[in-house]
């Protein structure tokens, strides 16, 4: 009984793969092309839901774009060509990973720049290491003793 339960649970877990929205009827017969389509699909934004990739989204437009990506691949497009095709219609926004260009420099390099500025400020403001105290000379010691004697009343 326990063994059966374990087997059932194991089977269920085996099927608990991430739930992609790619429908069986969209898939390509050629596993190489299909794998490329999946990689592309994960890097393309669904314009309707805006925070999901077209592979994750159940929106109609996401379905259309998945089919379109597969058509372009079957027609012999390279991966960058497929991305460029969609970028021409929907702009950089369709790419989940924004390209590095002047408009996105702040996005790409901003955090590093802030880190560098912070490190610079820390280095510039670092307090000098206190010098090793020099022991008092006999003369100074005598003077201190004299002063201290005066305060002890």
């Amino acid at each position: 009984m326990t063994a059966r339960l374990a087997a059932t649970l194991g089977l269920l877990l085996a099927f608990a793969a991430p739930a992609f929205a790619v429908n069986p009827d969209e898939r390509l017969a050629d596993p190489v092309l299909e794998a490329r389509a999946r990689t592309l699909g994960k890097s393309l934004r669904c314009l309707v839901c805006q925070n999901q990739s077209i592979d994750d989204s159940n929106a109609d437009l996401a379905h259309d774009l998945r089919v379109l990506v597969r058509e372009r691949l079957t027609a012999g497009d390279s991966d960058p060509q497929v991305l460029a095709y969609l970028q021409a219609r929907y702009g950089d926004y369709v790419l989940l990973k924004p390209p590095v260009d002047p408009a996105t420099w702040v996005l790409w390099f901003g955090p590093g720049a802030v880190l560098l500025v912070g490190a610079g400020v820390l280095i510039l403001r670092r307090r000098p290491v206190p010098a090793v105290p020099v022991p008092l000379s006999a003369e100074e010691r005598a003077r201190v003793d004299l002063l201290m004697a005066g305060t002890e009343e």
Partner: protein, 185 residues
């Protein structure tokens, strides 16, 4: 050795820093309030309209193809009978057409009989109507959801895109001024 004491001016400027930060934040928030982050700028602006050829849905009305664009500024409106905001904006479109603005329609992923009923019920502002059954023409225009309305100039280039339901206010502030500017020789 103790650190050098700051000059009076430097110290006073330091006190101003939080005030400056506050003013900066207010500016960012003020910009953010008037700015819809889900509104996307069309990548097709100033590009020629894509090639397409769509069959008609009404017997007495021609379909729509790329060759029909150009010659004069026109509106191209993507609509669907199943889309509620399209119903909401339809009166605005019929009013615009009655005022003499050429409006072309593209029925997005619609059944011809449904689109026909939609037009019978709500009025028909379109001089030409094409049926984009598989939504490919819409993708070529960069449509991400109906309704969307495009302004095309006399060279058949896309000059403006409005995503969402048109209202009289949008017509007044966005659509009509652009059409007038494009109508200038």
């Amino acid at each position: 050795m103790p650190p050098e004491p700051r000059s009076g001016l430097g110290r006073r400027l330091l006190f101003l820093l939080p005030v400056a930060a506050f003013i900066g934040l207010v500016a960012v928030f003020a910009f953010g309030l008037g700015h819809d982050p889900s509104a996307l700028k069309s990548a097709m602006i100033d590009k020629p309209a894509p090639a397409f050829s769509l069959s008609p849905i009404l017997e007495d009305r021609p379909g729509l193809a790329r060759a029909d664009l150009g010659g004069k500024p026109v509106l191209v409106n993507f609509f669907a009978s199943w889309c509620a905001p399209c119903r909401a904006e339809h009166a605005t479109l019929t009013g615009l057409a009655a005022a003499g603005v050429p409006v072309y329609g593209i029925a997005y992923k619609d059944k011809p009989q449904d689109a026909r009923r939609f037009l019978t019920d709500l009025g028909d502002p379109y001089q030409r109507i094409g049926l984009d059954f598989d939504g490919r023409t819409a993708i070529d225009f960069g449509v991400y959801g109906v309704p969307e309305t495009y302004i095309l100039d006399r060279d058949g280039r896309i000059r403006y895109r409005y995503a969402g339901a048109l209202t009289d206010a949008v017509l007044k502030t966005e659509i009509l001024p652009r059409l007038e500017a494009l109508a200038q020789p």
